[in-house]
Symmetry: C2
DNA sequence: TTGCTCCTCACGTCACGTGAGGTGGC
DNA sequence: TTGCTCCTCACGTCACGTGAGGTGGC
């Protein structure tokens, strides 16, 4: 059982935080929510390779906008049914998230257009010189300066 | 003083909510935070044209990712110093928000790429037929099906 | 009196941030 | 004994959502 695959390196809270760019509070919060379950050594947490991998998955999922509850459910699917069970659970969730992210991106693009237009108007009204805004926006507010 | 510009239409909470797509709770929350100050008629709120306009500004600002505190500060700048005072306050805030929104959009694009790749992999491993994913993603995972 | 609309608390949600104060091993 | 690291409460933040229960005018 002392195979070549066993990764025995363990990490303290601070070490894992440094590696992952998270905070101790975040790690404890994930643990509280059932996403991580580090061992203990006199109160102090010991993170094994498994926890390190799970943390990476949590962070990737967060970037994609999944809730911690959804991440937990996917972890549970993996623990109870293995990789394929997890995939069956995950695929529809992933598709839904893809659609939602595209909507979010479009909304941000719209907001950017609105803000750029408003900024250009304000700059013009404030009499700023060369307000450095896109031409098509300036064209309507300040044609042929 | 009974000029032609005075807009005398007033709205109830429910009416303004319908027009703006908000909820009563949101309107009361904005009031609590000092962003709206509707008149009263026996407890009931009466929203004038001014409040209606401010609500539109609040919603536009929210879309752009401004906090309610920032919106409040801009409203106060307007009330105390007029349009130009508000513009002077707003312009740097707008520029900062533009930059932040572009970062957010780029992060969403990255997350979309990650998710699409992961979805494609999962679909392949689940043996799905014609998993309907972009060609360039499928090409590496399932070349020449 | 029955509905309908409007209201006021006040706790819940989500993902943590932020002190306050205590412990353990070098 | 002094530091350093790690810990456990527990309240705060942001923008509301969500009942619970009360009031006013048709």
């Amino acid at each position: 059982m002392t195979g070549t695959c066993a990764r025995l390196e363990t990490l303290t809270t601070t070490q894992l935080c440094r590696q992952s760019g998270t905070t101790p509070r975040a790690l404890r919060f994930y643990e509280e929510k059932g996403l991580l379950s580090p061992q203990r050594k006199n109160q102090a947490r010991i993170y094994s390779h498994r926890e390190k991998v799970r943390l990476q998955l949590i962070l990737q999922a967060r970037r994609a906008g999944f809730t911690l509850k959804e991440v937990r459910e996917l972890f549970e699917a993996y623990d109870k049914g293995g990789r394929d069970a997890q995939r069956v659970r995950a695929l529809p969730l992933f598709k839904a998230r893809l659609a939602a992210l595209e909507v979010e991106r479009a909304e941000i693009s719209d907001a950017l257009d609105e803000l750029r237009t408003a900024s250009a108007r304000m700059a013009v009204k404030l009499g700023a010189i060369r307000p450095e805004v896109p031409d098509q926006v300036m064209a309507s507010a300040n044609p042929r300066s």
